[in-house]
């Protein structure tokens, strides 16, 4: 029911989301026409378009974007894998929770970027350092949502498992995990978004190699605003695509079988 309403809402109201970007584009176009020609700060939409075409034609975009995405997915996979294991441990074992949770909660208070100096000393400025950083970014939300989701399983459902003589593993496999799955998925979804944001941060701060973050760095160093704007648009679209992908998976998996 809710799915249908939601979808009808998007189809009917989707044009509204376009108002702001279109208006911004128009304002940009008008302002850049008025600006002095040759002045580097203000570029016109046409210049950015030319740059976009050139970046696509030369293969620079594909190279940068695929390097970034490969990094993002590697870090995401490692961080999510470790996060699921650690989160499950914290959720299931009271002992582990008491021993590890306080340290972990302190650890997550430290801003991710504060680890960059340490990571760069230990792992250099290359891909390894970046993937370590991204893994950290992905790890935190997965651990939080996995352990919270497991510990929030209603006692009432555990009663049902006990009434039917479920063993520890059966309770885990047939009650705890399915009940925690929506929360776990939220953690994984956040990990995907955070690790994409962190990809940019890593490429910006650990400057070596190629990536869409490096495209931005190059653009600003060469004072090529067209390249910078193009990079920002690509980053935004990629984030949007990752978000849409995760939402799509979520809808497919969860909304057919449960009420929101």
């Amino acid at each position: 029911m809710s799915t249908l309403d939601w979808e009808a809402g998007t189809v009917k109201g989707s044009w509204r989301g376009l108002v702001l970007p279109v208006a911004a584009l128009a304002v940009w176009w008008i302002v850049s026409r008025g600006a002095q020609a040759g002045h580097g700060v203000m570029v016109s939409p046409a210049q950015v378009w030319d740059t976009a075409v050139e970046q696509v034609r030369s293969g620079a975009l594909v190279r940068a974007l695929s390097a970034s995405l490969a990094r993002e997915l590697t870090g995401f996979a490692i961080g999510t894998g470790l996060g699921l294991a650690l989160g499950a441990l914290l959720g299931i074992s009271k002992l582990a929770n008491r021993a590890i949770a306080p340290s972990f909660n302190t650890f997550k208070q430290v801003s991710l970027f504060a680890w960059i100096p340490l990571i760069s000393v230990w792992f250099g400025l290359g891909d390894v350092a970046k993937v370590v950083f991204l893994s950290l970014a992905a790890l935190v939300p997965v651990v939080m949502h996995t352990s919270d989701g497991i510990r929030a399983v209603p006692v009432n459902w555990l009663d049902v498992a006990r009434a039917y003589r479920y063993g520890r593993l059966q309770t885990l496999a047939y009650v705890v995990l399915p009940a925690a799955l929506p929360s776990i998925f939220t953690g994984v979804y956040l990990a995907l978004i955070y690790s994409w944001l962190a990809t940019l941060g890593a490429e910006y701060l650990l400057v070596a190699g190629s990536g869409i973050g490096n495209t931005l760095v190059d653009g600003s160093e060469q004072f090529r605003m067209d390249l910078v704007v193009f990079g920002v648009i690509v980053v935004g679209l990629t984030g949007w695509a990752l978000n849409a992908l995760a939402r799509g998976v979520q809808r497919r998996w969860f909304e057919t079988s449960r009420a929101a």
């Binding site: 009432n156 039917y164 003589r165 479920y166 079988s257 449960r258």
Partner: protein, 256 residues
């Protein structure tokens, strides 16, 4: 049925007391003595806080740590067992499973083959009148239908004792009276022992052979009443209404 009221069949509670952590407070249950013959339908009524649900959880084996003894079919109750089914007030269906899968939840540890389990599930879904709804998920069901599924789940193991903890308490009046009749029919057909906890005296009169009236602080048995009315009974019956009024007048007037 030959050993209907034998020593080692049915349910026996001897001096069952239960207190929660606070030793100073009056016990939740104070020396409960009760025998229920196999095949009998017994209701436990009482105001909230009299410990009736706690008593049911002790019989189910979901709670332990009590004084006294609970015996079922000649064996001491120490933990849960598939021979003792339970239906809760909230249906407690799993939202990620459909109706048939939710009923099958009870059979995971039953010594049956896959085909036998499937047959048992189909039979019990039909028994509670939900044939055709096997593939529906809980959020697609009304409260009454969800509770029917919960009853099917409670029965599918063919337990010898079914414990019902205010199973119709959260339903609207119409659905409730329909499900009461259904339960009466199921009990007559299956002939298993049923213990129903309820705060609805009329429901107790309608369904029970005997009614156990409990009192609060400490939770104890006030009176055991033989119903002795002919079956099938209906809500409108004069005898049902009369006995309900008697019980309410005698035990629940000051409390209300």
């Amino acid at each position: 049925m030959t050993t209907a009221i034998g020593q080692d069949s049915g349910l026996t509670l001897r001096h069952v007391s239960k207190r929660f952590n606070d030793d100073a407070a009056p016990p939740v249950l104070d020396r409960i003595d009760l025998s229920i013959a196999s095949g009998e339908f017994v209701s436990i009524v009482g105001a909230s806080g009299c410990g009736k649900s706690t008593l049911l959880r002790l019989i189910a084996g979901l709670d332990g740590d009590h004084e006294g003894e609970i015996e079922f079919d000649g064996k001491r109750v120490v933990t849960t067992d598939l021979s003792r089914g339970i239906v809760f007030q909230d249906h407690r269906l799993f939202p990620w499973l459909d109706v048939a899968q939710n009923v099958a939840v009870a059979l995971r540890n039953a010594p049956l083959s896959k085909a036998e389990k499937a047959r048992a599930v189909a039979e019990h879904v039909e028994l509670v009148g939900l044939k055709g709804y096997e593939r529906h998920y809980p959020h697609q069901l009304s409260g009454g239908m969800a509770q029917r599924v919960a009853i099917a789940r409670g029965l599918v193991n063919r337990p010898r004792l079914l414990l019902l903890d205010e199973p119709f308490g959260a339903l609207d009046a119409l659905t409730r009276s329909r499900l009461q009749l259904e339960l009466q029919r199921i009990w007559e057909r299956e002939r298993i022992t049923m213990v129903l906890v309820t705060h609805d005296v009329e429901e107790a009169v309608l369904l029970s052979d005997r009614i156990v009236v409990m009192q609060a602080r400490p939770g104890r048995i006030g009176e055991v009443i033989d119903v002795g009315l002919a079956r099938p009974r209906k809500v409108g019956d004069r005898e049902v209404a009369g006995l309900r009024d008697d019980i309410v007048d005698t035990f629940f007037t000051e409390a209300a």
